[in-house]
Symmetry: D3
């Protein structure tokens, strides 16, 4: 088992994928922002009337996915063909669940794009709410599903 | 208690800080990437010989901090005066702890810059290691400390 | 009367403002997107229930203002201290009026930042609605007000 | 008639075009910068000797077209295969007409890229001339022509 | 013999390559950073223990290659499929040789991407070492090899 | 003698300059693009009539200076207050000399910004002319002068 991102001198490279075929690829990633009960309530209220935190986080997530190749040093720049995010308010665990689905027709997977979209959306939720709650925690950012490409389908198995 | 990032129409704005004084501000944020024992071992070996994952993550974190205002929609663009990251390998919990410290002399805090640096470093660790471990989880991204500015000093209290 | 943006060889330069004092500066710009009556109606409906075009345009405008120095070649990069946009639906002229107000404490005015915010918001409205109306026209992008700096206050006089 | 850029929760998404075929696509957009007679004369003189405003606007337009996906939130990132701009000085209406033509071989149209090129060129003309004329107005930014893709050819019909 | 990057008005354009076939393209570029003997020694020591200048330059080179279309105005934005850099310490001429190899499957060559990667890596070496040696000189940035596309293979012949 | 850009773990950091005073800083850098006699002649002709390569290189240099902090990993983001470039055609050595002067009022020097402006201008000359001359060489990129800040004035001494 070995890392693929290093050259013969042990220095990082962007792996050569020139010979790989273009296939339809999709990745889904998810994450959670944990917060105080009242912060969650404020976000919920805003979503229905004035001050929609999640509308801003949605745009941030989509735009960040498109910048992945400029944020993650060894990531390939990609033509993304679809990006969507969804938020789910979990009133029992006091968190917002963020899920992003990214698609492309290309030579490499898009898991980094999905994970980056989730991260940026979570950070934006933090930013928009930090004046009322500095102790929010961003957790559980992980790959949920991935299809397309040689390595085949991956579906995360979670107990819960 | 109210969000500050919305205008009178309930739409997001970048809060006006024109009248705030320039003060020395520092923020420290932290996060963790959980992984398989063998992935952690591979990273440790690389750090001492060929293929240093953390050297790439370090650069990614520093560069991402400088892009915070372009990633987080309502974040002020800032002249950062110092950025540093540190990694700690936790062999008991099988994770890498990432900490970032950011400083500026300015009108707004730099907690988003520190959190963004940590997020980008964690995502880079994921990217560099995903060929051997797709199930890594990025968690516990949180503000650890913050000083400077009107709201005064914040130090996160954690059990453990 | 002469342009200030050229050097002695007639080539473009970014004008030297090193010696100018930092003053509080504000600029307001405005623009309009003209469209079919039904397109306007769809936007209005979305703003109150699902599919808020203007929420996306708002974020686009704020983020574009921060990128002005990277879009307009001879524009100074600036630390902006406040950005806000407002939309006004004009049911008689069938257009959406966009206004942006930008502030900074610095050595140069922020009219380009306000005009860029308006332009990006208008383009985003076009993008979000182009599937139903390709013939929208973006017009009347202009400086409305400007204060701070040596050149003093400017207020646009419009017959209206 | 419905907007395509929203998901089932009414939040903005980047529409999935994965299944669309690659076709040759072209879009032409145009716009005008209205100004004082003397400002127009200064630009004309510069174009023939020292201080060519339009040379800078040309470069700004080309570079902005390539950044469209980072400015317009729900726009697909694209590999553009050709970008050109032309300026026409209209001495009767005291304006500069800007036209941009953009081409790609891809899954989505390039009207946003052409409109963005025109907008950035117009803003750059404003920036380069604002020291002599603050009251310039950018107007009539519109799609002129579009070909390729399922929706077929579009040619704007204008009276005049 | 004529430049291809200008339109009929003598203004710069991004050349239309829509009709060109996608072929596998590779370019190699190289450059040198000349420095004092002691600076070179410090870099060598860092590479083996603490403070690896070249690890940072490596990441800078890879990331800059991906930004080429945003730095070089008339350069096509490209999906790069592989980027690698290598450093060679030349103890006789007191310089570090940087070589970059870039690959794509596309319609235009990648020589600008390879040259940009080399330039950014050289500038980063300068930046990391400037506190000990301000007089370093970056030289000999040149195309070494190029294959793919209509113009065929190019291999630089050097006396050496 | 030691590098300043590494932390106690030997990893790169952006040096903390929070405590440094703001002073007026200026840096001048220069470089040369060597080419065939006929290429040089083509550039000269274009500069006086159609197809001005240097006008594009000028804009590229100014815009690149503003992106320095995003290209050179450990470079501080800076508010630049002035950027200018000049080109000198050397008909004896068959090269174009590029010089850039950058100014700021800030806590760190701007030598990297000046060197980056020169590099981007040289790369743009290469790009615009590569269809007629692939063997151009970019050389002698170096700091010429630097003033402001604790380290005092530096003026490069060159024989010739």
């Amino acid at each position: 088992m070995e890392f693929t991102h290093f050259n013969e001198n042990g220095r990082a490279k962007m792996v050569d994928v020139s010979e790989k075929p273009d296939t339809l690829r999709e990745a889904a990633a998810a994450g959670r922002v944990f917060m105080k009960a009242e912060t969650l309530k404020l976000i919920e209220q805003g979503a229905v009337k004035k001050g929609d935190v999640l509308a801003v986080a949605q745009v941030a997530g989509v735009m960040a996915a498109k910048k992945t190749g400029h944020l993650i040093p060894m990531c390939h720049p990609l033509f993304l063909t679809g990006i969507d995010l969804n938020f789910n308010i979990d009133r029992e665990r006091f968190c917002i669940e963020v899920e992003a689905v990214v698609r492309t027709l290309g030579k490499t997977g898009v898991e980094m794009e999905a994970l980056t979209a989730v991260s940026a959306a979570c950070l934006t939720i933090y930013d928009m709410c930090k004046s009322v709650d500095r102790e929010m925690v961003i957790s559980d950012i992980r790959l949920m599903k991935k299809s397309g490409g040689k390595s085949g389908e991956f579906v995360r198995v979670e107990s819960k």
